[in-house]
């Protein structure tokens, strides 16, 4: 395999991991920040919305849930709040990105200052030595020769410092864009003049490979990102979740939240899974870059591979230590590294199963977040479609890139362009059917309504058991309720609820009138009877709201028999409940 082929494979593997890391971060960051901001906003703004619209959130749970979904003013107020919260989410995400970049530039400086690392040679001296002026300093001349072997561009030549607190014969590289430092452990320095000189060369060339491959920028970005994620995303999200749960428990009251943004175990679990995902993606790319640096040091800079063999066979490598599983380690083991320099991969078999799993979870998280935002009306469906056009090719190309393949491809086969092409074709054909716009609605229609349907059947069975009719005595007891607006609202239901099939006649006018009637009915006190009367009132509101929502949504097909049947079934339930409640 030629050097160019090797580099092509390496670049492809790195691109795959970078795509995965970006996807995972996009998913985790937006999901967790969104979860925290929207939950907080939900807890604080919902009471204001309710009092502004005259809706009482302290009533029965079914009415609160119905109000949050179908009360027109409350839904509009919630959508306004959700939009504000979404802007805050975007701002927080941007803040996380800015904080990450700043931290990645600050961390190397802080490290050098904190460890008080004595300087061996500045980058300027290395430049001068490479250009022929080593001032009779044998060690400087040696390092300059190694820098030349690594063929580093002039603007990327590093300075060298020494770490007096590390005895192992190793080194480490740090820095930020254009200002790199190779830190040699104090235990490495004496080896340069002994028979283990090849070890010294291998260590320095490995570090110079990191500098040449820009791994320093990548690694410090990854470190900064991880720390910012922990401190600015995960911690606030968990703290807020815990505080709200504790507060609600201590208060003993059930607080209403936006649908899907209730704090609790679900949020904590989501946070844990996403954190593990970010860690795994980060460790995967860091481990890979170590193997690439080893390969470059041996095959491109001419390091002695015996150095790797000696380390793999050394006493410390054989010591039984408590080791993390491979997928959690930032650094490969010596045996993995030896295998890489002994048998460098010459074929591309796509990603690993772990990478595919990580990607799938990230993908599901993104879709879950988008559907949640759509359900809150926080973002117009059209905007989501535009965003999907932008982000979709990235997601789909990543999917193709990380999919494990049985049949290996040679290094010459250009697969990245093909993956992007598939991504774009997939995307165009998918969005021709407009799935995002319908997903949220479909999920809302079928999943929610299936469970609602089951509840209704259960309610009806109870009704048969309890006796179907609302007795005249109950109606007499509820005379106050009828007088304080109940009769008027029931009259409006009587006027606008269709008697037979819903049909298409004046559907638009009925949508508006029934929507307003449901909203007004939700502001009324609950029907003052826990028996048949209360149940009939609940059924009237629920069935009307559901039928109205189904019939009035965009894309409702009046002529489709299945949709028409669903709407009519609900209207007939509402009509039967209304008959029971109408005054004598």
């Amino acid at each position: 395999m030629t050097t160019a082929q090797s580099r092509a494979l390496t670049a492809r593997a790195t691109t795959r991991r970078m795509l995965m890391l970006v996807t995972v971060l996009l998913a985790s960051g937006t999901a967790l920040i969104g979860e925290a901001v929207l939950t907080y906003h939900s807890a604080t703004s919902l009471p204001h919305c309710a009092s502004a619209t005259g809706m009482d959130l302290q009533g029965p749970k079914w009415r609160t849930e119905l109000g949050l979904r179908f009360h027109q003013e409350l839904v509009a107020c919630r959508a306004d709040g959700a939009r504000t919260a979404l802007y805050a989410t975007v701002l927080c995400t941007a803040g996380v990105v800015v904080a990450t970049v700043l931290l990645s530039r600050w961390l190397p400086r802080w490290r050098r200052r904190k460890d008080r690392l004595p300087e061996l040679y500045s980058a300027q001296r290395i430049v001068a030595a490479v250009e022929g002026g080593s001032e009779n300093d044998e060690r400087l001349a040696h390092l300059a020769r190694l820098v030349q072997r690594a063929e580093l561009p002039r603007d990327r030549l590093p300075g060298f410092v020494c770490n007096p607190r590390a005895l192992s014969a190793g080194a480490v590289t740090f820095g930020s864009v254009g200002r790199y430092t190779v830190c040699l452990n104090v235990g490495l320095l004496p080896i340069r003049t002994t028979k283990d000189r090849s070890h010294f060369d291998a260590v320095v060339l490995h570090e110079l490979a990191h500098v040449r491959n820009r791994d320093v920028d990548l690694a410090y970005l990854a470190i900064a990102l991880w720390r910012v994620f922990l401190i600015a995303v995960l911690l606030p999200c968990l703290a807020l979740n815990a505080a709200l749960v504790l507060h609600d428990r201590l208060q003993g009251a059930e607080r209403a939240y936006w649908d899907g943004y209730e704090p609790g175990a679900k949020t904590a679990l989501l946070a844990m899974v996403l954190t593990a995902l970010v860690y795994v993606a980060r460790a995967d790319i860091l481990r890979h870059r170590e193997l690439v640096a080893d390969r470059d040091a041996v095959f491109e800079f001419g390091s002695d591979r015996e150095v790797w063999r000696k380390q793999a066979e050394s006493r410390s490598a054989a010591l039984p230590r408590l080791r993390l599983p491979r997928f959690l380690r930032n650094h490969p083991t010596w045996s993995e590294r030896l295998a890489e320099v002994d048998n460098p991969r010459s074929e591309d078999k796509g990603g690993t199963k772990l990478q595919l799993a990580v990607f799938l979870v990230a993908y599901v998280t993104i879709i879950y977040s988008v559907i949640s935002w759509l359900k809150l009306d926080a973002v117009p469906a059209q905007t989501v479609i535009y965003l999907a056009y932008l982000v979709g090719p990235l997601i789909i190309a990543t999917g193709f890139a990380v999919f494990p393949r049985r049949k290996a491809r040679s290094a010459d086969q250009a697969s990245a362009a093909r993956a992007w092409m598939y991504g774009v074709i997939w995307l165009i054909s998918a969005f021709a059917m407009n799935p995002f716009a319908n997903w949220a609605q479909a999920e809302d229609d079928w999943v929610t309504q299936a469970s609602a349907h089951l509840r209704e059947i259960s309610d009806e069975m109870n009704e048969w058991r309890d006796g179907p009719a609302v007795s005249a005595t109950v109606k007499d007891r509820a005379v106050g309720w009828y007088e304080r607006g109940g009769s008027a609202v029931l009259g409006r239901f009587d006027k606008y609820l269709p008697d037979g099939a819903a049909g298409s006649d004046a559907a638009g006018a009925r949508c508006a009138a029934l929507g307003a009637t449901v909203s007004d009915a939700l502001e009324l006190p609950v029907f003052p009877d826990s028996g048949a009367g209360g149940k009939a009132w609940k059924r009237l509101l629920t069935s009307t709201a559901q039928a109205q929502a189904l019939q009035c949504r965009a894309g409702y097909d009046l002529d489709a028999p299945n949709e028409d049947a669903m709407v009519n079934l609900r209207y007939s339930r509402a009509r039967s409940a209304l008959r029971q409640l109408l005054p004598h």
Binding site: L167, S168, V172, T193, D196, Q311
Partner: protein, 154 residues
């Protein structure tokens, strides 16, 4: 405590400069650390770092051997038994965390048996770490001779 701590460096530096000159720069670069810090450096294993070469082991460094032997002699308490003295040295070479008494006291001069054991230890480890046999012998003898003079070198 300070005077006692300074004496480890004072004993080891000339020994290394004379017998293992290529390791002089190691002591030169650990100058910023105090003697306890250097002892910790020689006993505590390193860990993997991001973008590091990894924890690499080379059979080379002799300074830690000399340092730890001298350090044990200088910091051991008057009542420490000879077997405890060597047990702790052994523990340190095997990189197992081991703590000294924590109390500096006037060291007791080494008995002939202890001198022989120190010589064997330094000579054996130096050979194992790649020093030529003659040089290793000279180093072992020099260490024993220096310890026999006591911390102050009188």
């Amino acid at each position: 405590m300070r005077a006692m701590a300074a004496s480890v460096r004072g004993i080891v530096t000339p020994l290394i400069a004379e017998h293992v000159p290529h390791e002089r720069e190691l002591l030169e670069y650990v100058q910023p650390l105090d003697d306890d810090g250097i002892t910790r450096l020689f006993t505590r294993p390193d860990s993997d770092e991001l973008l590091g070469f990894g924890v690499a082991e080379v059979a080379g460094l002799i300074t830690p051997v000399v340092w730890l032997v001298v350090n044990e002699f200088v910091t051991r308490g008057a009542g420490v038994a000879a077997d405890g003295f060597f047990a702790r040295i052994r523990a340190r070479f095997s990189r197992t965390p081991a703590r000294g008494t924590g109390v500096a006291a006037d060291p007791v001069p080494l008995t002939p048996e202890q001198q022989k054991a120190v010589y064997q230890r330094v000579y054996g480890e130096a050979c194992l770490r790649g020093l030529e046999e003659a040089a290793a012998k000279q180093l072992g003898e020099a260490v024993v001779a220096r310890l026999a003079m006591g911390p102050s070198g009188q």
